[in-house]
């Protein structure tokens, strides 16, 4: 054979890297180097793909024929079903599931072997198919994670439908949709879907209280859940007050009644895909496991006694959430506060039609990626998969004010309407001279934040809801500043002070930032961004003096997040920040081409 180099136009180092990438693991720098090369040089990509297909062909023709022969021979000498101990040499193309209780891996070899024997003649790929057909198709797919977030985020709020948190006057939204071990979910009503990194889906039905316990499970203190465990997932554990349900792949339901007068747990196995084995096991707190197979339904009473009960109707334990409704958004303006009463499955058109005064911004709302109330004296993630930002040099403080950012009002639990046009809030006085506020209701469109609050919108989610993928926009607020006085209190006039910061970013970097309506540079140190301004500008802030700033921020198509921040600048009273008329203006499509 010729010793001529087949790819003389490519640098030798790159050729070596391409070849080596199939022989041994590359480090991160090498992976990025390789990726850059094959993304930017067609010839490099041609060589890379040529080597990949050669590698695949060598593996296929050398290994699979040998493997098929061995498997068929072994099957013909064995009993109808063979349990293979973990670690024992076994064919990798036969489907198996190795999660449940770490027991033996079992697969019906005889039936598989028939197909495998057939498969030898057909190139052996049928071996994979054999496993599928022999076992029957698993019905439960893994929900892809596709989210670059810290390892400690083990699950996330995937979607919601009509959710209300348990404490109505003080919404208990998690700051982001990422869920960590120990995090509680308390819903009063509606459906909330939690998905784990492993692809397991848990749908809670309110009222329910659920706590994330690990990357492989959680505890249902009360209420109802549906768990869907996909084929390739490890054992999933659902703790209850009566014991732990350990499940393999399948569809399961759990009900917990946990009141002072009654403590009862019901477990339902609608479907399980553990071949020749129990689909689940319930381990009671008093000890002793109960093996369950598809079609089993049990109730455990307070005394841990077990009663077999009728399997409830599956539709009461939904496998998936209602499908998202999508349609092209025909308008040019998206009022951001209007999103706070809508869930992710709604279309933008539907979202704009509903406009609930005083609705709190929560991370279960359409397009809301993060909400922080206080804690702006630390490095804070603009979104779970966003960049870190530190606002302390522009007055970000640690103190929180109870009440979330909200629609048309500056605090969700008080309902003082946004007013930037000089209109007084109606009030009267009692005989004892105490003040009585007039009935609060919407006066202006907009979004309000209290001191030290951060609100991030996921622009891609908003775009998806309106079929506006790739569209550039502008964030506009006609008048942003300190809200008109809520009461004629002198301290409002003299002490109210705040900085308003707007940040446009994506998962990797800050694209632009604005302080009180004016563009500012940002600095990045050790992966943390901050606003780069001099002391005087950083501390001047906006005051309660009838002066508002106009904000007009271009949002390019590659921007993923829009963050609104109110920083207290050390002031502790009456710094009620409003973004009157806060909205996204969708740029005409022609501007994308430009």
């Amino acid at each position: 054979m010729s010793k001529h180099n087949g790819h003389p136009h490519l640098p030798l180092d790159l050729q070596k890297l391409i070849q080596r990438s199939f022989d041994e693991p590359l480090d991160e720098v090498e992976v990025r180097q390789l990726e850059h090369a094959i993304a930017n040089d067609v010839r490099a990509r041609e060589m890379y793909e040529e080597v990949a297909h050669l590698h695949a062909a060598l593996v296929s023709q050398e290994q699979t024929s040998e493997f098929c022969r061995k498997v068929v021979q072994r099957e013909l000498q064995s009993s109808p079903e063979v349990a293979v101990a973990p670690g024992q040499d076994e064919p990798s193309t036969v489907l198996y599931w190795d999660g449940f209780l770490n027991t033996a891996r079992v697969f019906p070899l005889r039936a598989a072997a028939v197909l495998l024997a057939l498969g030898v003649g057909l190139g052996c790929g049928v071996g994979i198919l054999a496993a599928v057909i022999v076992h029957g198709p698993p019905q439960f797919l893994s929900i892809p994670w596709e989210w670059s977030v810290p390892e400690e985020v083990v699950a996330r709020i995937e979607s919601t439908q009509g959710v209300k948190w348990q404490v109505a006057e003080n919404p208990e939204t998690p700051p982001t949709r990422g869920l960590r071990v120990g995090q509680e979910i308390r819903i009063e009503e509606g459906l909330l879907q939690v998905t784990y990194r492993s692809g397991v889906s848990v749908i809670l039905q309110g009222p329910a209280v659920y706590v994330i316990r690990s990357e492989g499970g959680g505890k249902l203190f009360s209420g109802r859940l549906t768990a869907v465990v996909p084929s390739a997932s490890p054992v999933f554990c659902t703790e209850t007050p009566a014991g732990v349900l350990k499940t393999g792949p399948g569809h399961f339901g759990v009900d917990v009644e946990n009141s002072a007068s009654n403590r009862q747990v019901a477990v339902h196995v609608f479907e399980g895909h553990l071949y020749e084995m129990p689909s689940a096991q319930f381990v009671r707190t008093s000890g002793g496991g109960i093996k369950l197979v598809a079609g089993d339904s049990i109730r455990l009473d307070q005394d841990q006694s077990v009663t077999s009960i009728d399997v409830p109707h599956r539709k009461d334990y939904p496998i998936r959430m209602p499908t998202a409704h999508r349609e092209l958004y025909q308008e040019q303006t998206i009022f951001l506060g209007n999103l706070f009463d809508d869930c992710q499955s709604q279309s933008l058109t539907e979202a704009m039609l509903s406009d609930t005064y005083q609705a709190a911004a929560e991370t279960i709302d359409l397009g809301v990626a993060a909400v922080h109330d206080g804690g702006l004296d630390l490095d804070v993630c603009l979104a779970e998969d966003g960049v870190l930002f530190n606002f302390s040099n522009v007055g970000g403080g640690g103190s929180a004010v109870v009440g979330l950012p909200s629609n048309d009002t500056y605090r969700s639990n008080l309902g003082i309407p946004i007013r930037t046009t000089g209109e007084d809030l109606p009030y009267s006085t009692n005989a004892d001279h105490s003040l009585v506020l007039g009935k609060p209701s919407k006066i202006e469109e907009g979004v309000g934040l209290s001191s030290n609050e951060l609100l991030t919108f996921d622009l891609d989610e908003i775009r998806r809801a309106g079929a506006l993928t790739g569209r550039a926009m502008r964030f506009v607020s006609d008048r942003a500043g300190i809200n008109d006085r809520e009461l004629p209190v002198e301290t409002s006039r003299t002490k109210a002070l705040a900085n308003l910061i707007v940040v446009v970013s994506n998962e990797e970097r800050v694209l632009s930032a604005y302080l009180n309506g004016q563009p500012v540079d940002v600095a990045k140190q050790a992966a943390v961004y901050s606003v780069r301004v001099d002391e005087e500008r950083a501390s001047s802030g906006l005051r309660y003096d009838g002066h508002f700033v106009e904000i007009d921020v271009p949002i390019p198509a590659e921007a993923r997040f829009l963050t609104l921040v109110s920083a207290s600048l050390g002031a502790d009273v009456h710094d009620h920040v409003v973004f009157s008329g806060a909205r996204l203006e969708i740029e005409p499509e022609a501007s994308i081409a430009r």
Partner: protein
């Protein structure tokens, strides 16, 4: 009339080598690629009723395979060591541009080319692929350094690629 299983088996059998090659290019590891291929087959079978007869089966499978690859990468939690999604998309597109016939022709040529290798080279290929040993394991088995094994494998693969090209062009002329 073939059963649904037979129909699926035929379509899958025809495309699986191209799919496997695509997955190797995405994951750079044949064992991982095999796992994902297996899961893709399961997913495809489950959703086979969604496949529109007469449309491009490979493209349909490739979309499922990409989905399974992303799930696999996230599950492995080593996403930094894999390509970004844009690169994956490019590799899927490129694989869609190939034909199963050309892949099959290359496999046939490869079988012939392997027989032309020197004994020592064939032994190395045998260790690496038949026995599925990594470069480290192969080096240990053959009492050689890992770098030397990697160099040899690179050289042999380059020879095989040239031989495949030559064989295919000769067939074309013939």
């Amino acid at each position: 009339m073939p059963s649904k299983e037979e129909e699926f088996a035929e379509l899958f059998g025809a495309t699986q080598q191209r799919l496997f090659g695509m997955l190797v290019s995405m994951l750079r590891n044949s064992e991982d690629a095999r796992d994902v291929l297996q899961q893709t087959a399961v997913t495809a079978w489950e959703n086979y009723s969604d496949f529109e007869p007469g449309t491009d089966f490979f493209r349909w499978m490739a979309a499922l395979a990409k989905y399974e690859t992303l799930t696999f990468i996230n599950y492995k939690r080593r996403s930094k060591l894999y390509f970004k999604q844009e690169m994956m998309d490019q590799l899927v597109d490129d694989a869609c541009g190939l034909s199963d016939e050309s892949i099959e022709a290359r496999c046939t040529a490869l079988r012939e080319c392997v027989t032309k290798l020197a004994d020592t080279d064939r032994k190395l290929i045998d260790c690496r692929y038949t026995h599925g040993l990594g470069s480290h394991g192969t080096a240990k088995l053959l009492d050689r350094s890992q770098a030397s094994v990697c160099n040899s494998l690179r050289r042999i693969r380059q020879s095989l690629l040239r031989c495949i090209k030559r064989t295919l062009s000769e067939e074309k002329v013939a």
